[in-house]
Symmetry: C2
């Protein structure tokens, strides 16, 4: 960096990382994608997937890059959680970390790519074992996910395109970590108006079979209404 190109000379500069909280829905639980850290400090510790911001990319681009490198997925729902800036949050060196969370559909996901990065899924309840301030990041992300999922249909990013109401309820029960009444759940979901019943039937979950639903195309119109669970 040459002085002639700078407006804000003599200011301190910092490493900036993006850390990604990648969430999936597996066996009726929320899962978190983590990896065994390959560098010191805390080598071998369980860590969120992250990477350093580079000069040629925005924060959102960096988060997308980290996510895509690891998972091979694109066009994934992703949103900022917050930025963590305690001086000693990373014992190796000072790093400002901008944290994102992403929601992915695991129903047809091939995770061979994950193995190359020593990455694996753990139950969200194991997040306390993460290194540094990553447990706090996950807590904050879950808080945001719960709040947003009660206002907007974002939870659906964790499901395949077509899903049964039973699957949807299981997802919400996992997000909020409590069981819900089937009749009330269905009544409320259907009254929100963004579910479209298909004529396809899922026979995998029961002998009787359950209708598949999908999201209406126009669900963006519905984002301003608030729904609480």
């Amino acid at each position: 960096m040459t002085l002639s190109s700078t407006f804000y000379s003599s200011q301190d500069s910092f490493l900036v990382a993006v850390d990604c909280i990648i969430l999936g829905f597996k066996e009726n639980e929320i899962s978190l994608l983590v990896h065994k850290r390959e560098m010191e400090p805390a080598k071998g510790g369980m860590s969120l997937m992250g990477g350093f911001l580079q000069n040629d990319e925005s924060l959102n681009q960096a988060a997308t890059r980290v996510l895509t490198n690891l998972t091979g997925l694109e066009n994934i729902f992703m949103e900022q959680v917050g930025t963590y800036g305690e001086i000693d949050r990373d014992p190796g060196e000072r790093v400002i970390s901008v944290c994102y969370y992403a929601l992915i559909d695991l129903s047809s996901y091939d995770d061979t790519l994950l193995k190359k990065h020593n990455a694996f899924w753990v139950n969200i309840n194991s997040a306390a074992e993460l290194i540094f301030d990553h447990p706090q990041m996950v807590d904050d992300a879950i808080t945001i996910l719960r709040r947003k999922a009660s206002m907007q249909p974002i939870g659906f990013n964790l499901l395949p395109e077509k899903f049964t109401l039973t699957q949807l309820q299981a997802l919400y029960e996992a997000i909020y970590d409590h069981s819900m009444d089937k009749r009330n759940f269905r009544k409320k979901m259907l009254s929100m108006g963004f579910l479209q019943k298909t004529d396809e039937i899922d026979k995998s979950g029961s002998k009787k079979g359950a209708f598949y639903y999908q999201f209406k195309e126009d669900r963006n119109e519905l984002l301003n209404t608030s729904y609480a669970f």
Copy 2:
């Protein structure tokens, strides 16, 4: 920075700024503290108060420093809004900006300090005239304020210790930018249980006089309930 002290060598590093959205309640409107920028680029433009993060402070400390330098106030409610990292968001040089909002009580605030920084209050509706991506930051802060004020008694940070119900209603009407029914507002506020009626009367607002209220000390117990306006 010497290589021997670094774990993450050869990564790009960045200027990190904190920008503060300082909000006050003035003449029944939400006001925003801004200043005329003293450096290029955009010198003379209307800007949020900000500063660069320094090596010896956390992000929260930096935000507090900026706020205290400017206003002389300490122990102010402050919370992160988000982090803005587009490559060209600051045309001078690349800067990652972590944005905070703060709520302050203007009722007995002496703003001589503000003049030293070319700072002044503008109506929140003038935020669109701010430079760079500061209008977006203000939009995001207002969204957060509205959401949080409906769940937790944070709006009170904008009022003096003692206030009348009419003042409180005017504050909420300013935050949400719509008028509310007086009877319903009072009923709801009082039912929430964190208001304490005093025996003092404000005669400044009316001939009849209105009782002053204050917050109960134990209001932290109440933060988990959700209240919508």
